[in-house]
């Protein structure tokens, strides 16, 4: 029942999103604007990988921050959360939202990476290590952003509160993931990234478990 309902919530969010493009359109514009600004800022200079990695994660972070909060905010603003509360348990809702936010983040980040590599000539020397870091980094980002989105959806000043609340929670993840991405792009072997990957996996597990435990209190009142 839990898995079935989580899947139904995910499917509903996906079909809802594909129909209204409530989040996708604004995020696509955001990605294009951010990548364009990076392009203009770099100009014809040859930026090294350390700087480019930082710029890549700035684009990923702000895209996630502007997009991931919307699934919960929309439920509250359109007053559909009450119907959802009366139809399924809180666990199904948070897992469904996590699945939707993961799908959204992975698709957008694939696009960001593609555009970023094209416009900046970003070199990735250890692709498998890079992808591993990107996957676990994104999982942690989605996990933390989703529970923070649930919390701020109850607040009045949603827009300003979200980056303020998410930054300290995401800081350990961002520091680790930026460092690991930089190492992978410079060609460090995957086994040398093991420490960073362990931190990213642990962060994801801890935040997801905490989200599952805390969400019912956020959702119920």
């Amino acid at each position: 029942m839990l898995l079935k309902n989580s899947y139904l919530v995910f499917k509903k969010d996906l079909s809802s999103e594909l129909r209204t493009r409530y989040v996708i359109n604004s995020l696509l514009m955001f990605v294009l604007v951010t990548i364009s600004i990076i392009r203009f800022a770099i100009g014809d200079e040859k930026a090294d990988n350390e700087i480019l990695t930082g710029l890549l994660w700035i684009a990923v972070f702000f895209t996630s921050v502007s997009g991931l909060s919307r699934t919960f905010v929309k439920e509250e603003e359109k007053e559909t959360s009450v119907a959802l509360k009366l139809s399924t348990g809180s666990d199904s809702v948070i897992i469904g939202k996590l699945l939707f936010n993961s799908a959204l983040t992975f698709s957008l980040n694939a696009l960001i990476l593609f555009l970023f590599v094209i416009i900046t000539d970003y070199q990735i020397k250890n692709l498998s290590g890079f992808l591993l870091v990107l996957i676990f980094g994104n999982l942690g980002l989605v996990s933390a952003s989703t529970i923070i989105a649930a919390i701020i959806s109850k607040a009045n000043s949603k827009g300003t509160l979200y980056p303020v609340l998410s930054f300290p929670v995401l800081l350990p993840l961002l520091i680790t993931v930026i460092n690991a991405t930089k190492l992978a792009s410079l060609g460090a072997e995957t086994d040398k990234l093991f420490g960073e990957i362990q931190i990213l996996v642990s962060y994801f597990i801890v935040v997801t478990v905490a989200s599952l435990m805390l969400f019912k209190y956020v959702w119920e009142d």
Partner: protein, 211 residues
């Protein structure tokens, strides 16, 4: 038929330092119906929200039992149907998709769901509009769809908060028929100030008596 009971013990709600109600106790069993009365802003909707588990009370407890076995707090929603102005369905989905989604969440199996949805859509005369998105519905049509949402899973307890809102006389008749049918075996709670709505219930409580 399963018997259902709800016991509210000394419920109190204080919001921003203002007492909405205090020490409100209520016991209802299958076949009982009660209307909640009170001026605008007196806290009728707040009480309905607390009873249906959307928000919590500051003090007191609510116990729902089925066949004399208490239902765990996290599963009470399975016994509750609610029609209210602060509950909306998804505008971007069609009437059918909305009902299918919510029925899917409450039922283990999809068997018979389509028949149920079609039966209720026919009953409220929305069958022809089943594949239209809800955003194109009038407020009365939305209210009828909310009525289906509230009763389609045959809840033991039906809460109605201003159920006649935006409905024409035909729609109001459908609401009354549904309420009459429900209270034969379930519990009906109506928050209203409408004299006709009050007649649906065997007794009334005035929320202002609990200030």
């Amino acid at each position: 038929m399963k018997s259902i009971e709800i016991v509210c013990d000394n419920l109190s709600k204080i919001y921003s330092g203002k007492v909405i109600f205090k020490n409100l106790s209520l016991k209802l069993s299958s076949g009982n119906s009660v209307s909640i009365l009170g001026k605008n802003g007196s806290g009728k909707s707040t009480l309905i929200k607390i009873l249906s588990g959307i928000i919590s009370a500051n003090k007191g407890s609510i116990t729902v039992s089925e066949n004399n076995i208490p239902v765990p707090g996290n599963l009470c929603y399975t016994k509750i149907g609610l029609i209210s102005p602060y509950l909306n369905l998804y505008d971007e989905l069609t009437a059918y998709e909305n009902l299918k989604f919510f029925c899917g969440l409450k039922n283990n199996s999809d068997i018979g769901i389509d028949e149920k949805i079609n039966f209720y859509l026919n009953r409220v005369k929305l069958f022809d509009k089943r594949n239209e998105t809800v955003k194109n519905f009038s407020s009365g049509m939305k209210q009828k769809l909310k009525l289906i949402f509230a009763v389609i899973n045959e809840p033991g307890i039906l809460y109605m908060d201003e159920p006649g809102t935006n409905l024409d006389s035909e729609g109001i008749d459908i609401v009354y028929e549904t309420a009459e049918e429900h209270k034969k075996n379930g519990i009906l709670v109506v928050a209203t100030n409408d004299k006709e709505d009050i007649k649906l219930c065997e007794r009334s409580i005035n929320i202002e008596d609990y200030k």
